[in-house]
Amino acid sequence: MDHFPTNWGKPRDEAVDVYSTYPLHSRPRNQVDTFAEGVQHTQQPIVTGTSVLAIKYKDGVMMAADTLASYGSLARFKDISRLHPVGDYTVIGAGGDMSDFQHIQGILDDLIVEEFNEADGNALGPSEIFEVMSQVMYARRSKFNPLWNSLLIGGFKDGKSFLAYVDLLGTTYQSPSIATGYGAYIAIPLLRKVVDGREKDVTEEQARHILEECMKVLYYRDARSLNKYQIAKITKDGIEITDGLSSKTEWAFAESIRGYGAQNQ
């Protein structure tokens, strides 16, 4: 339907012009139709984060992610925190599109403020944050406008550990050890060997050690990773997120590798 009467054409009888379209001949016509190409949705991630790892252990949940935000294969931003505290009991870690993640941080920070303003003595725990995020992610995928992330939600409240995954499709699951991205292929076998079935026995030292080990392996094998990472710990004492850590790496073996690229022999 064209809502501009002047576009309806000249009246047949120029003496009678009930819509007074004549002699108004400047007809509004949008030269560019804003919606001709359809509403633009995120079709692909642009600035991306790689794996996030998380495990349950004796005292709570521990989560690790490096601080790199890549622009394709370019290591674009090298000090972006991908672990974000939400309230006093939860940490959310993200892989995938970092601008979508920062939008999610905004949503969750607003949510915490709204909940605080209720002043009813209730605080949102990790399971509630997870429920919100799974509904947000599923709703966005159902509008064909996904938030292009894989999220880990870890926390500790009322004596219980919580660890769950949600992604751009709204797919969810819980497990004692979860990893996103390349970590799902490389770190999960290492983590499951240590953690699964022993969540209640793994000490803080063991938990930290296996995560550091996995971050090192990922740095060796994942070309979109960085040797600068953070570890978050969520226990009864609250949330602790470290500054940038790095693994000791060994590259001497590279000297003896033959068969790839230029060599003088």
């Binding site: 030269q31 001709a36 079709q43 692909q44 064909f144 499709l169 969810t172 819980q174 497990s175 799902a184």
Partner: protein, 256 residues
């Protein structure tokens, strides 16, 4: 009407489409007896070659006499179960009773068909006890076509399990001994054994099936627990013995 030529920006756009679906593996299965119903599903959730978790339930208690198994795209499945449960709660508030099984079946068909042009990518199997006290199984396709059956398998190992069931439940390709006939209904103990065997076999031959199996067993009003007593670790979910009774039976499956 279109009395102007399309400019460059008004040409039809080419769109690379975001795929809102994935497939999360697993298998579900239900068998109806004369006065009981068994609904089961494995607990593995996977995507591609990765096992996401070894415990993600696919079988859900709806009422004391209705259990729903969902299989396919897990996110759709969870959302669908959530919405069915919500509709059943509204029914309970409106009518002070649980919705009858055949009505739940029709409700599910309506809810699935409502999404005909953006379907829930989920195969549903509903099991339970009808108002006449018979065991029943209803199976659905993703857009709501449904029928009442005696047994049904769905999911990634459907093609492995359903022929086995056709043979063992419907006695397809079996000829009875002269002068005898095949039983129309199998005893509970036998059915539970068939279900567990189906899942151990599917685990052997299908990579997306494994980790664990959950069986929900619903007994008709007034039926004793005969046939169930020989199984260890059967957990009752209904608080009292009058009315239909609901039990869960969990078994480990191979995790490789």
């Amino acid at each position: 009407m279109s009395h102007y030529t399309r400019t460059q920006s008004q040409q039809h756009p080419t769109q690379r489409q975001f795929n809102p679906y994935t497939e999360n593996g697993g298998t579900i299965l239900a068998i109806a007896g004369a006065d009981f119903s068994v609904i089961a599903g494995d607990t593995r959730q996977s995507e591609g070659y990765s096992i996401q978790t070894r415990y993600a339930p696919k079988v859900f208690k709806l009422t004391d006499k209705a259990v729903l198994a969902v299989n396919g795209f897990a996110a759709d499945g969870n959302m669908f179960v959530k919405k069915v449960k919500q509709r059943l709660e509204w029914y309970r508030h409106a009518h002070s009773k649980d919705m009858p099984l055949r009505s739940i079946a029709r409700l599910i068909q309506t809810m699935l068909y409502a999404q005909r042009f953006f379907p829930y990518y989920v195969y549903n199997i509903l099991g339970g006890i009808e108002e006449d006290g018979t065991g029943a199984v209803y199976s659905f396709d993703p857009v709501g076509s449904y029928e009442r059956e005696a047994c049904r398998a769905a999911g990634s190992a459907q093609s492995l399990v359903q022929p086995f069931l056709d043979n063992q439940i419907y006695f397809k390709n079996q000829t009875p001994v002269l002068g005898t006939s095949h039983p129309t209904h199998l005893p509970l103990r036998h059915v539970v054994q068939l279900v567990i065997d189906s899942f151990t076999s599917a685990t052997e031959r299908h990579i997306e099936v494994g980790d664990g199996v959950e069986l929900y067993i619903i007994l008709a009003r007034g039926r004793g627990t005969q046939g169930l007593d020989s199984f260890k670790d059967v957990q009752e979910l209904t608080p009292h013995a009058e009315g239909e009774r609901l039990f869960v039976l969990r078994r480990e499956l191979k995790k490789d």
